[in-house]
Symmetry: C2
Subunit: 249 residues, 2 copies
DNA sequence: CCATTAAAGGAACGATCGTACTATTATAGG
DNA sequence: CCTATAATAGTACGATCGTTCCTTTAATGG
């Protein structure tokens, strides 16, 4: 789909090869563990030949981080823009975020790695991580605002609060999946998501409530929940879909 | 309080000094970045003198990880056992987890570091991390069961699901605090916690509902919420305390 | 107090780190 | 096709890595 859009000069070509290897290595061992020597070995280049592309290890780290963000955009941000605004898009964001690394050919998430590797450091790499993550968070908050505007989330929803909680779900899913190797990780995440957006549902007005169908094809459907059970109370939430269904382990 | 309970032999004494430095270093840069040389410099020992205490770098990493867990127990698990079972204890767990590193004299959390450093590795260090985290998770689930037994959480609460979501809050709080340096991180976490336990509240029976006072002194009180607003609907939740109060930034 | 054991230091090892300099080869435009 | 430039390789550097071996100093129990 994307191979050789414009003609790549030789330098850009091998640079791409290097970054691909760097991305895999950084996602598994961290950006500080990116090593000129091992990267040269992985790409078949000489140490100095590889080094010349970046000029310093720090530049290599930043270039790898940028590439990670570029791919995240390609595999998450761009595709969900094809999904209608609102809860569907938020749900699609969750689904795409939970799967982007494997769709991308990576075994782990370089961004998760970067977050925890540089959070307490100082320097340009940390600055780059922070800026990227802030930008990403702002995108998430825009999606939340859109869901508020469409009436699928309560008008007084605190976008910052909700984005905080959404990242929590993603992060917990990551731990369950990678550390615990729990094959139900995504299931837990989807249930948490349902519970979360339900708690931000707009107050029920009179008869026909705002549509709340969430992630019909990406996630297993809530199966006959979502019929907005109750009457007139300020906020009432049907959480039956998130209550202890059998989980194969 | 705890200094020199039993007489420490010289070896045990310096071993403790080493582990203290190792803990600080591991929390900031990761366990793989623990280096015999820098650790020797930090403690005033010689490389070989320090090395003799562990026999290998891997053993040093595991010893440091064990020490981290020991301190986590000392600063989180033990204190919250003095808190009454139920939601109060769950809330105390959140509060203590959010502050234990600084109360412990650390600038970052070695456990968070370990989780993301070893999640996709293989070997004895990863195994140790997984086991520690599983044990910790089981403790959390026992606390959840206690809250179910006391009627503060719905009887059909899925402990695994709730613990998944609680870790998400803690993890997101960690990112907000350390990566974004957001001074409102704990505030977001407390609101997320309130929202979460509210969504697991038992169905309202008749008149006097199960007491839900959560974290009165640790966290800013919900201020006149918690009076269980509505009538008879299957699950009704007052979320006013988590709706966009002004946040100084 | 002295003998035994434990603890710490010194020196060196091969390996690898990031980086600098120079030399060689490949590409690309006129 | 030739030439200017870009890309890669070669080599070497000081530093530090984890680890080993051996010596020296310190603690400890009878």
């Amino acid at each position: 789909m994307n191979q050789t859009r414009v003609k790549l000069s030789k330098g850009e070509e091998t640079r791409a090869v290097i970054l691909k290897a760097a991305l895999e290595q950084a996602s598994l061992s961290g950006f500080e563990w990116l090593t000129i020597g091992s990267l040269a070995g992985a790409t078949g280049l000489s140490k100095s030949g590889l080094f010349a592309h970046f000029g310093s290890k720090e530049e290599l780290q930043i270039a790898t981080l940028d590439e990670a963000m570029r791919r995240f955009s390609e595999f998450v941000v761009v595709p969900i823009m094809a999904v209608p605004r609102g809860l569907k898009r938020l749900s699609a964001l969750l689904e795409h975020t939970m799967t982007w690394t494997e769709r991308c050919g990576l075994s782990a998430c370089p961004l998760m790695m970067a977050i925890h590797e540089f959070d307490d450091k100082v320097g340009p790499v940390r600055d780059a991580v922070v800026e990227h993550m802030h930008r990403q968070n702002e995108g998430l908050m825009r999606s939340i605002e859109a869901a508020k505007a469409s009436g699928e989330l309560a008008a007084d929803t605190d976008g910052e609060q909700l984005s905080f909680e959404l990242f929590g779900i993603i992060s917990s899913c990551y731990r369950s999946h990678h550390l615990f190797r729990d094959k139900n990780a995504k299931l837990f995440a989807r249930r948490a998501f349902q519970r979360l957006v339900a708690s931000y549902a707009p107050p029920t007005i009179v008869a026909e409530p705002a549509r709340l169908k969430v992630s019909e094809k990406d996630a297993p459907p809530p199966k006959g929940s979502r019929k907005n059970n109750s009457h007139g109370s300020k906020r009432s939430i049907d959480l039956s879909a998130t209550r202890k269904p059998p989980v194969s382990r």
